[in-house]
């Protein structure tokens, strides 16, 4: 591995000038875009190669891999619709992660906020609040509100008391998940068949289909992605966020409302995660189920990281992760590969991309002679 050789601190021991040639590690100030892209592509390639090797080791025939991933997922109409279907909540959690990370807030509570968003939307449906034609907007608003409130606590604790948000948001995930179980195994259980899920939503409580089997939740996610892009790239808030991300203290000295900016970004993140919960219950499942949120929190964080917190990039990455989810499900059915494989592949790709950053930020230079000193 590339590691800095020890510089000769005590030069008195070396009576000879340092004639030996060696390699020194240097911080690179800037790298041309095309080289950065090349390194990223190489990292992804390595990640895919490792993932493919794991899949083959897990019993998927090697010649079926390309077929499953590329042909079945993107070029088969039905599967492509499944990817779009899956992508809506994925895009929303990815955006939620990106916005919070832009404010230097590690919101690892995306799953908890998603659960609460879903619970909020389901509450409106269960108690039949509001007239039928307003039901869906009310569920939408409830999901946003609940997701936002669930992240308010950690945000306040972090900004007021300095409580580490990584731990607090994670603990709230586990609490939300247990509360969800309390509901679906308790008073919210479907009286029709006694399975642990809420009664089915009525037709007007579900996100409508646009035609050709494409759900409107993907449109919702797309609109939110555009708004998020406008917010971070065009609006004043986006500028504030960049200031806060670079250096909160300097930002404060320059008159940026640092606390309000962080609160805004974090609450928005919670609202988006809540919306993702809405997208799952009203767009996919049509009811509140016990484990609908699993895998989204991690995926959201990874999407945000891979997209470098850029909303448009997050949308593209989320589509790919959605494709991975869909493929994972079909592998589960056809080759009995456990669904955790999806998580493993995500982690492998993140490890490769994160590690490749090293080669963007550093360079090895051959040095020799006096120059080494």
């Amino acid at each position: 591995m590339a590691q800095a050789p020890r510089p000769q601190v005590n030069s008195q021991q070396h009576t000879q000038p340092l004639a030996r040639r060696r390699y020194a590690l240097e911080i690179r100030q800037h790298m041309a875009w095309r080289w950065q892209a090349l390194i990223l592509a190489a990292a992804l390639l390595v990640g895919f190669a490792i993932s493919a090797a794991i899949l083959v080791a897990a019993g998927v025939p090697a010649d079926e891999l390309a077929n499953e991933f590329v042909m079945q997922t993107f070029f088969d109409g039905q599967n492509f619709r499944a990817v779009l279907f899956q992508a809506a909540p994925m895009i929303l959690v990815g955006l939620a992660g990106s916005i919070a990370f832009r404010a230097r807030f590690w919101n690892l509570g995306l799953e908890g906020q998603m659960i609460w968003g879903a619970i909020g939307a389901t509450t409106i449906s269960m108690w039949q609040i509001g007239p039928e034609n307003l039901r869906l907007p009310l569920m939408f608003a409830a999901a946003i509100g609940c997701g936002l409130l669930w992240v308010l606590g950690p945000a306040w604790l972090k900004l007021k008391l300095g409580v580490n948000e990584i731990i607090s948001t994670l603990m709230l995930n586990y609490m939300a998940a247990n509360f969800l179980l309390h509901l679906v195994y308790g008073s919210w259980k479907d009286p029709k068949d006694n399975f642990p899920y809420s009664p089915q939503f009525r037709v007007f409580e579900r996100l409508p289909e646009l035609g050709a089997g494409i759900g409107s939740s993907i449109v919702l996610a797309g609109v939110v992605a555009l708004l998020a892009w406008w917010l971070v790239s065009v609006s004043r808030v986006g500028l504030y966020l960049r200031f806060v991300d670079a250096n909160p203290r300097v930002a404060h000295a320059n008159g940026v409302p640092v606390r309000r900016t962080i609160y805004g970004a974090v609450l928005l993140s919670g609202a988006m995660a809540g919306l993702a919960g809405f997208a799952v219950v009203a767009g996919q499942e049509g009811r509140l189920t016990q484990a609908f949120y699993q895998g989204y929190g991690f995926s959201g964080i990874l999407i945000a990281f891979l997209a470098r917190n850029n909303p448009l990039a997050a949308t593209v990455v989320a589509l790919l992760v959605a494709a991975l989810f869909v493929t994972g499900r079909s592998l589960q059915v056809f080759y009995q590969v456990p669904f955790s494989m999806v998580q493993l592949i995500q982690a492998v790709i993140v490890v490769c991309v994160a590690s490749s950053d090293f080669f963007i930020r550093h360079r090895l230079r051959r040095v020799g002679g006096e120059a080494a000193q």
Partner: protein
């Protein structure tokens, strides 16, 4: 609460406390060297799976526990290379490690068919002569790992407080620039700390699968690794305080089955929230008492970049 329930509760506390204690201790070793170790949840799973695998194959608990420690260390090399050599953001690297381990252990566990495969664990070991005391004697009938945990804590605490190697390790976490100038090899020390700490985290996971529940279920650590991360903050990076915190958490977790046995009706899922709620409460308490920050290793979470040394 009647006396026997109280005694049952106290007697079962160490069994719940040991995983927290060992994991927190491993994290303290790692974080004292300046490496923020968020991967505990994943490494505990690796330890738990490796432990049960060895238990099924060999059947010797001592061997299984050692192999589990080795397995967790080996997996943590990936994390160490990322954060120490490649200088990847430690939060991202830690999270990626957790996802990686969760996926890997679920995959290997199901492919090797180790799920729900009951094994023989370790029997109780009475601490003579305390175990002969009337009434409270059964508090001293614990498995060997419980008794072993105490000398492990003693050794680590002594290492940090009394040895020059311990001082070096802390220097690396406190101010790597100064440590480097003093001739301490920052990279090597951090590597050693990550590997050693991860071994203890793996042992904590193996305790859950091999000694406590005696079987493997995917994702069986259920957030204990994250609670251990919170516990380290509560303990302000001090081993003995971590032991006290672990006992506190053990008490709370041990209370749940005792209450159920006593016929106290509590909403099940709210009861299952308590460890997480308590962790959150403890974090708030630490923040309110404003004593957390000053003990935090100075360079925690920061990669050491020698080329940027000034």
């Amino acid at each position: 609460m009647s006396g026997s329930i109280m005694l049952n509760w106290l007697a079962s506390t160490p069994d719940f406390a040991v995983p927290y204690a060992l994991a927190a201790l491993g994290l303290i070793i790692c974080e004292r060297a300046g490496v923020l170790a968020l991967g505990a949840e994943g490494l505990m799973l690796v330890g738990a799976l490796a432990g049960i695998g060895a238990q099924i194959a060999i059947g010797q608990p001592a061997v299984s526990l050692v192999l589990a420690m080795l397995a967790a260390s080996v997996v943590s090399v990936l994390f160490a290379v990322m954060v120490i050599w490649l200088r990847v953001n430690q939060v991202i690297a830690g999270l990626a490690l957790v996802f990686f381990c969760q996926g890997l252990t679920a995959l290997v566990g199901s492919m090797a068919d180790w799920t729900n495969h009951a094994t023989e664990g370790i029997g109780a070991m009475a601490l003579w002569p305390l175990s002969l005391l009337p009434g409270v004697g059964r508090l001293f009938e614990q498995n060997a790992m419980v008794w072993l945990t105490l000398p492990i804590f003693g050794a680590v605490a002594w290492f940090f407080a009394r040895t020059s190697t311990g001082l070096r390790l802390r220097a690396v976490g406190e101010n790597p620039q100064a440590a480097d100038a003093a001739g301490i090899r920052v990279t090597a020390w951090r590597f050693a700390a990550v590997l050693a700490g991860s071994a203890l985290v793996g042992l904590a996971g193996a305790y859950i699968s091999v000694v406590s529940t005696k079987l493997w279920i995917a994702g069986m650590t259920g957030g204990r690794g994250w609670i251990a991360v919170g516990l380290v903050i509560f303990a302000r990076w001090s081993p003995w305080k971590a032991l006290i915190g672990a006992l506190l958490f053990g008490c709370i977790e041990a209370l749940i089955p005792q209450l159920a046995a006593a016929g106290v009706q509590l909403p099940q899922y709210f009861v299952m929230m308590t460890p997480y709620a308590v962790t959150l409460g403890v974090m708030v308490w630490v923040a309110l008492s404003r004593r957390g920050a000053d003990e935090e290793p100075g360079a925690l979470g920061q990669p050491y970049v020698r080329e940027e040394r000034r």
